[in-house]
Symmetry: C2
């Protein structure tokens, strides 16, 4: 129970820092999110959060995700097929490799690619606000 208390107070701090009200549901969802290394969708987050906090509805999961995304605490990924998948906002930006067979997601980052993207946009008279890059892959063999 000491452990639970520590997690709760840590999440409370995080939520306060994000400038949002602290509720049991938000603490639970944020804890689940920061504990997930995969990229779960809303239903899966709902399932996981409900184990910690039974008073949790799917509507609240969606609402909270929207709030946390707005606060920059959560990132939303819309991969091909199926609904959005979420992850706790990482320190630094990355893109994704999606395993077509398992659905597994691997993160990567290429400064060189981002430079090229900026150059291309600039050549068209644009500034890149954000981008999306996903490599849909199959294991080599």
């Amino acid at each position: 129970m000491e452990l639970t208390k520590n997690i709760t107070s840590k999440m409370t701090t995080n939520l306060r820092a994000a400038g949002v009200r602290v509720t049991r549901q938000r603490v639970a969802l944020l804890a689940v999110l920061q504990d997930s290394t995969d990229h779960p969708d809303a239903e899966e987050l709902y399932r996981r959060a409900k184990m910690v906090e039974p008073a949790m509805s799917l509507a609240t999961v969606y609402r909270t995700l929207a709030v946390l995304e707005g606060a920059g605490v959560v990132h939303r990924n819309s991969f091909e097929g199926g609904g959005a998948r979420f992850e706790a906002a990482p320190k630094d930006h990355h893109d994704h490799i999606v395993d077509l067979d398992s659905g597994e997601v691997i993160e990567f980052h290429s400064e060189r690619i981002e430079e090229l993207q900026s150059e291309i946009a600039a050549a068209c008279g644009y500034d890149v606000v954000h981008h999306r890059m996903e490599l849909y892959c199959r294991k080599k063999r």
Copy 2:
């Protein structure tokens, strides 16, 4: 009417080549698609195709788009916000710049980026089957 006849026979040839049955609806939709330089969504294609072929339903647009996509004649783009947007399959692969203010879409291609993508995937033990790259941009000023 000569013009219409020519278009029809050209689309008929294209559809036959794609190995699908030739119907008035498919001819009309394919003609509209090949005539569009923007990236229309299903509703818009429905509107345009209906002008050519009144016996056209939205369901058929979706069904036909799925068929043509399967035959490699049409490409489906799922940009952020809103539904899928389509384009006649181009000769060569390209990615997109999306103007955040106007929704306008610009195509680009970077061989260098694609090489880097392959290298990154390979380093993770993967082959890239296909990818998705969109730059959400705002006009420089």
